[in-house]
Symmetry: C2
Subunit: 292 residues, 2 copies
């Protein structure tokens, strides 16, 4: 009674990258994803205990493939003995009116929320998919994975996802980090367009519940240790889509400013060249908490 | 009087990846390539001496972009202080009859030879481009690069290119290595199709002059130290396109078998997942000779 179909198994850095497909109830369609299993999870002779998991949430237009091919996270994950899950960024092929009209809304742009608007509320439920349905299915089938030790990271829209899922679910994830995350979606064009489409103009409470800066401003949980990298050459940063300073300011207002480490990386852009350069740091940041 | 136009400059692993374009005489068209400059070549305050160079030759259908994005050679090149040149795999847009009819001949499939057949002999001169025109232009313009310290590597068709260019030009390259190289093109379908198209059926002398196994059989130069990785899960290996055993046997016949280190990597395929996993070893192999 397997939930996932394994469509390919690819050797990578001593471990295996599995291309998986499963039927998801929350998104009403087949969902593809990649699962990287480090050597400690694939060797039959391995005496290693259960393997902790890092979830990597991708950005606009991406699938789970891009970072698995270009992000270079597997090298460090192999060394540290951490599995990586690379989910897709939205449901696909639902046929909802408007879902394929722009690259920053609908298909490839699920924004890790559960939609409430007509048409979208049936299948655009990436929040429930990532926080609930996907991990339950994965940890049910892949017994080597340790569902009690999970960290989260992501890029751009996926950085927004990582920060908000972490902040909305204290204790669920051992750590969080992000590459050029959308830090304050209610105040940037990408976020405003998406939240209008998934929540509607009038649901300002829902907008705020999925805004990392609003969430960190109210943080009452354990001390934070959030690693964020942003490139100074990132055009989306220059266009004020990322707004990391707003997140830092909100954390300071909440008295938890010391728990946010924002590194502005000179000249780096928004691409996978940026992610691959600093990927090692982010996997090590997660491993510090997953392995302690 | 700049030869190259820099169309993009991308921060990567502390150095810069330059997207370059120049007009090439040997190939009768504009050629694109990528040049990775490690920090020692880009820092204005750097007191480093000239920077050695590793040429990476790509495989069928690829451009200079694929490995720059997915090969992860830049990480080790940055650490070692080695520049990497990623050239294109053929002329583009010449309009030669038949050049776009198949993926393994013509466009994207120059095979690193100088063609002699009608139509192809004018521009399909990747041998002269890689061994002569491109390095002269690069070392003329980028003064930090050390044209006297150059190594070569490559993948598949590019592995064939690396092995043959090294063996045909003793002393020109400090070292050579290859990822799943086409080792005996005169005896595999890819090579036979290409050599027939670029040399003609009757030019068996030219065929042999560009066959790595034939060349190593006649090797009279310095002791060899050739690193070759091939995945046992590589479908092209299974289809006998790679034939690394023929290269090893030919080296043994020539009494230089000890200079060929063939590593059969369990389960790895022909993809960039394979290259990225072992890229560190190949850059270190080159650095051992470039930096001594």
């Amino acid at each position: 009674m397997s939930t996932f179909e394994t469509t390919a198994t690819i050797a990578s850095f001593g471990g295996k990258l599995l291309k998986l497909k499963h039927r998801a109830k929350t998104t009403k369609c087949d969902m593809n994803l990649n699962l990287y299993l480090p050597p400690s999870a694939t060797s039959s002779s391995s005496k290693d205990k259960n393997v902790p998991v890092l979830i990597y949430l991708s950005g606009l237009t991406c699938t789970g493939d891009n970072c698995a091919e270009k992000g270079f996270l597997q090298r460090t994950a192999s060394k540290k003995g951490v599995a990586i899950v690379y989910p897709d960024t939205s449901p696909r092929g639902l046929g909802v009116k408007g879902e394929d009209e722009s690259w920053d809304f609908g298909t490839g742009a699920g924004f890790y929320v559960d939609a409430v608007t007509e048409g979208y509320k049936e299948g655009y439920n990436m929040y429930s998919y990532i926080t609930d349905e996907l991990p339950k299915a994965l940890f049910g089938q892949f017994e080597k994975l340790d569902g009690s030790r999970v960290s989260i990271t992501g890029h751009s829209m996926g950085g927004h996802g990582a920060l908000t899922l972490f902040l909305k679910n204290p204790g669920k994830y051992k750590s969080v980090s992000a590459f050029s995350p959308i830090c304050n979606p209610i105040n940037c064009p990408w976020g405003q367009k998406a939240f209008k489409g998934y929540f509607g103009d009038d649901k300002q409470d829902l907008w705020k519940e999925h805004d990392a800066s609003e969430l960190v401003r109210k943080w009452k949980g354990d001390p934070l240790d959030i690693l964020i990298d942003v490139g100074t050459g990132d055009n989306f940063y220059k266009q004020k889509q990322i707004l990391p300073e707003n997140f830092v300011d909100a954390a300071k207002e909440a008295g938890v400013g010391e728990g946010v480490k924002l590194r502005m990386q000179p000249d780096y852009d928004h691409s996978y060249f940026f992610i691959s350069t600093f990927g090692e740091d982010h996997v090590e940041h997660a491993a510090k908490y997953l392995l302690k």
